[in-house]
């Protein structure tokens, strides 16, 4: 058991920087990134299921995107193919955003903890 001799009064963490403005800008993103409400009580079965499904779809979407970029960079596609690929991915991204909004999910809500394998996304 560690008791610290001397003062038992709590110490406020001190904060020190020469660049308050830059850090303010960066740190504000912490709260901006928060979804409106994370409410475990009102989370219905449907929402839980939606989360699972959308997480998997989002994972696949990112894989597809990476793959598409590699193919485009490889130079083996015609301009028409590039255009078609781009449009398809664009629509997929938009659709996923729509679904997320419908179920009240934010980007950070979509993830699966696979234990020792880490997170899916």
């Amino acid at each position: 058991m560690e008791h610290f001799r001397g003062s038992h009064s709590p110490v406020e963490p001190a904060i020190e920087t020469r660049h308050a403005d830059e850090f303010l800008e960066e740190l504000r993103r912490v709260t901006e990134a928060l979804p409106e409400r994370i409410n475990i009580d009102s989370e219905s079965v449907e929402q839980g299921l939606a989360k699972l499904v959308l997480t998997v779809i989002e994972f696949i979407r990112r894989l597809l995107e990476k793959q598409a970029l590699r193919r485009v960079e490889s130079g083996n596609l015609t301009p028409e193919q590039v255009e078609a690929l781009g449009l398809a991915l664009m629509k997929l991204e938009a659709k996923l955003e729509e679904l997320k909004t419908q179920f009240g999910l934010a980007e950070e809500d979509l993830n699966l903890n696979l234990g020792p394998l880490g997170r899916l996304i």
């Binding site: 610290f4 709590p10 960066e26 928060l34 994370i38 409410n39 598409a68 690929l85 449009l87 991915l89």
Partner: protein, 238 residues
């Protein structure tokens, strides 16, 4: 009984808690689970609002415990239904005892680093991935992909930079810190968010070293804070 949870700890002198109030002005009290003790209070209404008042109340209760012993702090908003806390402690007893042992006698010190806005070199590197024929009018799909390519190249660059800074910092502080936890946040701005577990007697040494270290790289902007209770060292999944 529902409770709002502040932290888990080992035995301490709980009279220190008589002086402090938690969320909604509620007095914190302890629930004992053998070697592990939970500091809780009667909860405010759900959901817990993220206000300055509530956040500071949360920190305040924990810092009263922290003055005597290093607890494992709960994340803000931990409203637990009856029995949830009991089950949690029992299910994770060994891991929790392990964590408590790890943080014993130590505090968390935070270092955040912003990299000055990109050099010309970087912008060139990103620019090189632009499509080779800018005069051509691109369709929506192709533009979408081009933007994604740029994003991806930028991302890689920032990630490399963040990793480099994180490794450099690690080397500089090796031997002084007990443990570290890094969040790489490779955006154009914040490169690294680091948390270090520093034993209390070595705090002075740590601060001196850090002062020296930041002089070495003037292109990096530093924000340091602490001591904090070990929020970053509460990961049960190891």
């Amino acid at each position: 009984m529902n409770v709002y949870a502040y932290c888990l700890s080992q035995e301490a002198d709980w009279s220190a808690l008589e002086a402090v109030t938690g969320l909604a002005g509620e007095r914190p009290f302890v629930l004992s689970y053998g070697e592990i003790v939970a500091v809780v209070s009667k909860p405010p209404d759900s959901p817990i609002a993220v206000t300055r008042e509530n956040v500071l109340a949360h920190e305040r209760v924990i810092s009263h415990v922290f003055a005597q012993t290093t607890p494992l702090p709960f994340r803000f908003g931990g409203l637990l239904r009856s029995g949830e806390l009991d089950r949690y402690v029992e299910a994770n007893r060994d891991s929790l005892l392990g964590l408590l042992a790890r943080v014993r006698g130590a505090v968390e010190m935070s270092v955040k680093i912003i990299h000055e806005h990109g050099s010309e070199e970087e912008d060139d590197a990103v620019g090189r991935t632009e499509p080779a024929e800018p005069e051509k009018v691109l369709g929506q799909g192709a533009m979408f992909l081009a933007a994604k390519q740029r994003e991806s190249a930028e991302s890689k660059l920032f990630e490399e930079r963040a990793r480099e800074i994180a490794n450099w910092l690690k080397e500089q502080l090796a031997g002084i810190v007990k443990d570290s936890f890094l969040r790489l946040t490779p955006t154009r701005g914040m490169a690294v968010k680091a948390a270090y577990l520093v034993e209390r007697p070595r705090l002075e040494e740590y601060r001196d070293r850090l002062k020296f270290v930041r002089e070495q790289r003037p292109e990096l902007l530093f924000l340091t804070s602490g001591p904090w209770p070990p929020y970053s060292f509460c990961d049960l999944i190891t």
